[in-house]
Symmetry: C2
Subunit: 386 residues, 2 copies
């Protein structure tokens, strides 16, 4: 195991015989935490099939566990609990409680505005004053590798006299970054920007699959519903925030200055360099560093009305899009709503996803001493509608 | 215990010593199901502090348990487990998984459209084609009797140069009916209108508190978020659908005819007669019979894209408003966004809720043989912002 392996230590859940055990990735092995953690102060939480109990223990326990792993792994005392990654199946590592999706990329929001509301301003008037978000469906968050069935639903083009029903013809991806929340708070309380760090356990790549035709017909006035709720895919390995200190960078300038509840000392962007692969070919390189809002601002906003947090909550950034055409994190933007098809290396072209298409999002981040972390990838393959 | 008591049998959760036990209401008593259910086929589920495990057992178990209660209670064999209602504290009877709020009242949607989008059509073009809905925050669903802290957030009037932050000045109620879901389904599957009945366990009154000023500023383009997520209050007693057969009535005519996936044999309205009380005074009598969409259509729509169900999911109808002014289920409508204040019996007036105000929603429904069921009420009192 290299120093970088010992620095990263992302958390996941693996199949062991007929059960699911928590695990931490150590290079090309997974450490079975249910076994390795027996007798430790975190044994009860580590014996669970999801991270929720560990998330509930809070940041001091997370730090102590991480230190113990970093000290104990090099001694070889845990080697008997290491399993080659090639031999393990990944499971969803948390029971997702409330899931909120934000909309934190200025370039994405501007592109979507220009496509869907061509006669108005690209950004809605509220966009630079608050991190826009909405609740999504937590029970359809699935782990990387899970097939995605093409959803059916209503769609209606502007010229159609009435809506029609059928499989979505505009199935899309959204390249996002998910943040896993730990530490429950009571209803009626608030988490400030500077307290948010105690509740953000880690980061995982996230694909918020979207049916653009279903979404376009349904979303006024109450927002996206069936266009999003059929599936969202989370990477199998969650990188702890503690491993991302070297990836923290200043935010883009926020103008106008946000209201005081969105300010604090702990404001940061993340230099995560995403790649979106369609059937193995890189079609986009969204730079997370361009995101407008800090994760801590998103969490402070989410709770400023007194909304409680639960261990296992998940919030995601919204689609990550840079300013360049080949940095856009959705096919909606990459093909400008299908009007500018992508040509792939095999000569085929795409506007939106076809049955059988596989999408993978991967990312790297700066690690300590000039090293480079590779985040757990998130992938999925489209199956035909049923 | 009367025949009507034995017919109704709503489910709840009560405090017993330091723990929470499931219970069924029998007239003015609560039957402790953890105690009474020992040794029965449902003992494990009945020993849990929430209904989720019972919900997971499905409709045959629900029917068998109900029959057993109806047969056993009159024998007196369970009398030792009856506790006077006055002596019990109610707890939230389910761990809410995904929570979806619909928008199924044509009168409510038309009123809101006329208030917020006066230059457009009152109903959006999609409204009569699909039951519009969105996901809400499940962790802030609280049980009747829980105080509600006035939320803070951003608001911006049309003439304001920039948003301001502070306690909501347009805190409102929404008189709704909630439907509790049982029986999990896999991601990628679909529940039809005629299968939906197997998944709708029961009905509970629901107050979806809303901060109209926060909502108005944030909701374009992704829908309501902090204007709703601070609290939603569920009645403590859930009336099983089996008790509401006599309350089922035909739906209002649906024109245009919905798409085939929204049709089936099991379409119904419910003749629930709601009353909204503000500080003890009835200010509205919303008739649920006027709702446009059947609960079975809402559930079929929710899953038509392959979204899975979990036992403990909750969906709500949206605000119940009749056509008459005094049948409107929100202060937004009753005072036409504050322009027509309500005068209360004590001589005071209201546009929106003031600190200290208490709101109760109660309802009756036709029972068997001309009897009248009284549903469990939902109430809450507004506490000042923190």
């Amino acid at each position: 195991m290299t120093p970088l392996d010992l620095h990263h230590l992302p958390y996941g859940a693996i199949g062991v015989d007929e059960s699911v055990h928590l695990a931490v990735r150590v290079g090309d092995h997974a450490l079975d935490l249910a076994a390795a953690g027996a007798g430790t102060p975190w044994a009860d939480a580590l014996a669970m099939p999801t991270l929720n109990a560990l998330l509930d223990l809070g940041p001091q326990a997370w730090a102590e566990l991480r230190s113990w792993l970093q000290e104990t792994l090099p001694t070889g005392a845990l080697d008997q609990h290491l399993v080659p990654l090639a031999d393990v199946a990944l499971h969803l590592p948390l029971e997702v409680r409330d899931y909120v999706d934000f909309y934190a990329s200025e370039h994405h929001a501007s592109n979507v505005g220009a496509i869907f509301r061509p006669d108005g301003a690209a950004l809605t008037p509220n966009w630079k004053h608050l991190p826009i978000g909405y609740h999504g469906r937590s029970s359809t968050v699935v782990v990387s590798g899970t097939d995605v069935v093409r959803p059916c639903g209503q769609r209606k083009g502007p010229q159609d006299p009435a809506p029609v029903f059928g499989p979505s013809v505009k199935l899309d991806i959204e390249a996002e970054v998910g943040f896993v929340v730990g530490g429950s708070t009571p209803v009626g309380s608030r988490v400030t920007v500077d307290e948010a760090g105690d509740h953000i356990f880690g980061v995982a790549l996230f694909n918020d699959w979207s049916a653009r035709d279903i979404q376009a017909w349904e979303y006024v006035p109450l927002g996206p519903f069936l266009g999003k709720s059929f599936a969202s895919t989370l990477a199998g390995w969650i990188t702890p925030m503690a491993a991302l200190e070297a990836a923290k960078i200043p935010l883009p300038q926020q103008d106008p200055t946000p209201l005081p509840y969105l300010l604090g000392k702990d404001l940061y962007g993340l230099d995560l360099r995403l790649e979106v692969l369609l059937n193995g070919e890189v079609v986009s390189r969204p730079p997370y560093r361009t995101m407008y809002w800090s994760p801590t601002q998103m969490l402070a906003h989410l709770t400023v009305n007194g909304a409680s947090l639960s261990s296992g909550d998940l919030f995601a950034s919204g689609t990550t899009s840079g300013v360049a055409v080949d940095e856009r994190g959705s096919l909606l933007e990459l093909t400008w709503n299908g009007t500018e098809p992508l040509t792939l290396a095999d000569g085929s072209s795409r506007t939106f996803l076809e049955d059988g298409d596989s999408v993978t999002i991967r990312a790297t981040a700066p690690g300590p001493d000039g090293s480079v972390l590779t985040l757990g990838e998130v992938s999925g393959t489209i199956r035909p509608a049923v």
